[in-house]
């Protein structure tokens, strides 16, 4: 067996002599050059295997999952949906919000006139509607005044309709600019 042949076998087994076939092992016993080659290969492999692995950076998995959440298409949690209603909506959901606001307005100005309890009187041209939420019907002073759109955005449409239909402290009022 030639040195070249033995060299190929040594590279294939990283110079580990016990893996050599008998003919190559016999050549190796008498060939100093091949012995040095085997030793060099074993040293190279051992040094390579000793190279320490970089530890995973602290918080890596958490950062991965934050990125997963941030880029997840079509899988939005309930809290994100809620926040989405309160913050500027994504274009895809714009129509849904507009529809809900429109529905609420129809309910308020169509059938909702019946809820009027005389706080404001007949609306004048150019007037702006607000909803006064009064937690105490017996008390004539409103507990809180919120802008109509804000209220619509903060409540589900059905819940709002239900609240308006209850004669407990919900008044439709108007005021002039």
């Amino acid at each position: 067996m030639t040195c070249k042949q033995v060299h190929r076998l040594l590279v294939a087994c990283w110079g580990e002599l016990e893996q050599l076939e008998p003919e190559a092992a016999e050549h190796l016993r008498e060939c100093e050059a091949c012995q040095r080659e085997a030793k060099a290969l074993r040293a190279t492999r051992r040094l390579m295997r000793q190279s320490a692995q970089e530890p995973v950076p602290t918080g890596f998995a958490g950062r991965v999952m934050a990125e997963v959440r941030a880029t997840e298409p079509g899988r939005v949690g309930w809290y994100q949906r809620t926040l989405g209603w309160l913050s500027p909506p994504a274009p895809a959901f714009e129509w849904a919000r507009a529809a809900a606001v429109g529905l609420a307005l129809v309910l308020l100005f169509g059938g909702g006139i019946a809820l009027h309890h005389g706080v404001g009187g007949t609306p004048e041209p150019g007037s702006h509607a607000v909803v006064v939420v009064d937690s105490s019907p017996a008390d004539s002073s409103p507990a809180a005044t919120v802008d109509l759109e804000t209220l619509v955005l903060q409540h589900e449409t059905l819940a709002l309709t239900q609240a308006l239909s209850e004669d407990a402290g919900v008044h439709l009022v108007t005021y002039s600019h």
Binding site: R36, T44, L47, A52, P57, V68, R75
Partner: protein
């Protein structure tokens, strides 16, 4: 029972199925299980910790997005490695193209005390031996980084990550024979690179 990254294969499959159904915490558990393997692999492929973290993170994010397409023909860890390999090889190639000055193993090493030549003194059993061993390991690390990307991927996966020939063939999408020939070339090139610097045949292997 076979295990994958210390977890029973059935447990991995269960987590994968749950993650595919949109169970994010299940995917979080898979990240915990495989982060060592994936980060270890890309950091050895790229050498730079920041770059390695970016690539490892992108690997998991892409895996999550692609989960609906994972049919289980390959094992989950092989599939993850494949995503990581594609990303790491691309980044390594880009780095090679952008590299202004090629790293040379003949250049002196830089240290706080100044530059010094890469020489390994024939000492053993002394405090210097540890330092020299670390220097040698750094040389080997740099030699691995000098290998062409495809040879580097094979040698890192086989020698350092402990993957089988069959799994490497699947990860890199090449025949088994190609894996073996690349490994042969990688070993040969590594030894040649080191021999240009030190007489590795003179090193006492048992003391390394």
């Amino acid at each position: 029972m076979t295990t994958d990254a210390g977890l029973a294969q059935e447990a991995v499959e269960d987590l994968v199925e749950r993650a595919k159904a949109g169970d994010r915490p299940a995917f979080g558990q898979l990240v915990e299980v495989y982060q060592d393997k994936i980060y270890g692999y890309v950091s050895r492929m790229l050498g730079d910790p920041d770059e390695a973290e970016d690539v490892a993170q992108e690997t998991f994010v892409r895996a999550y997005r692609s989960l609906p397409h994972f049919r289980g023909a390959a094992s989950f860890h092989t599939w993850l490695y494949r995503i990581a390999s594609n990303l790491a090889i691309d980044v390594a190639r880009r780095n090679r193209r952008q590299s202004t000055g090629d790293f040379s193993l003949d250049e002196p090493l830089e240290s706080e005390e100044g530059d010094y030549e890469r020489e390994i003194a024939d000492e053993s059993g002394s405090p210097e031996q540890l330092t020299q061993r670390r220097e040698m390991q750094e040389l080997v690390r740099q030699a691995v980084a000098e290998l062409p990307e495809k040879l580097r991927a094979v040698v890192v996966l086989y020698e350092l990550q402990g993957e089988s020939y069959e799994d490497i063939a699947e990860i890199l999408g090449c025949p088994l024979g190609t894996v073996k020939s690349r490994l042969f070339n990688a070993r040969s090139q590594l030894k040649d690179m080191l021999e240009q610097l030190v007489d590795v045949g003179e090193l006492e292997v048992e003391q390394l």
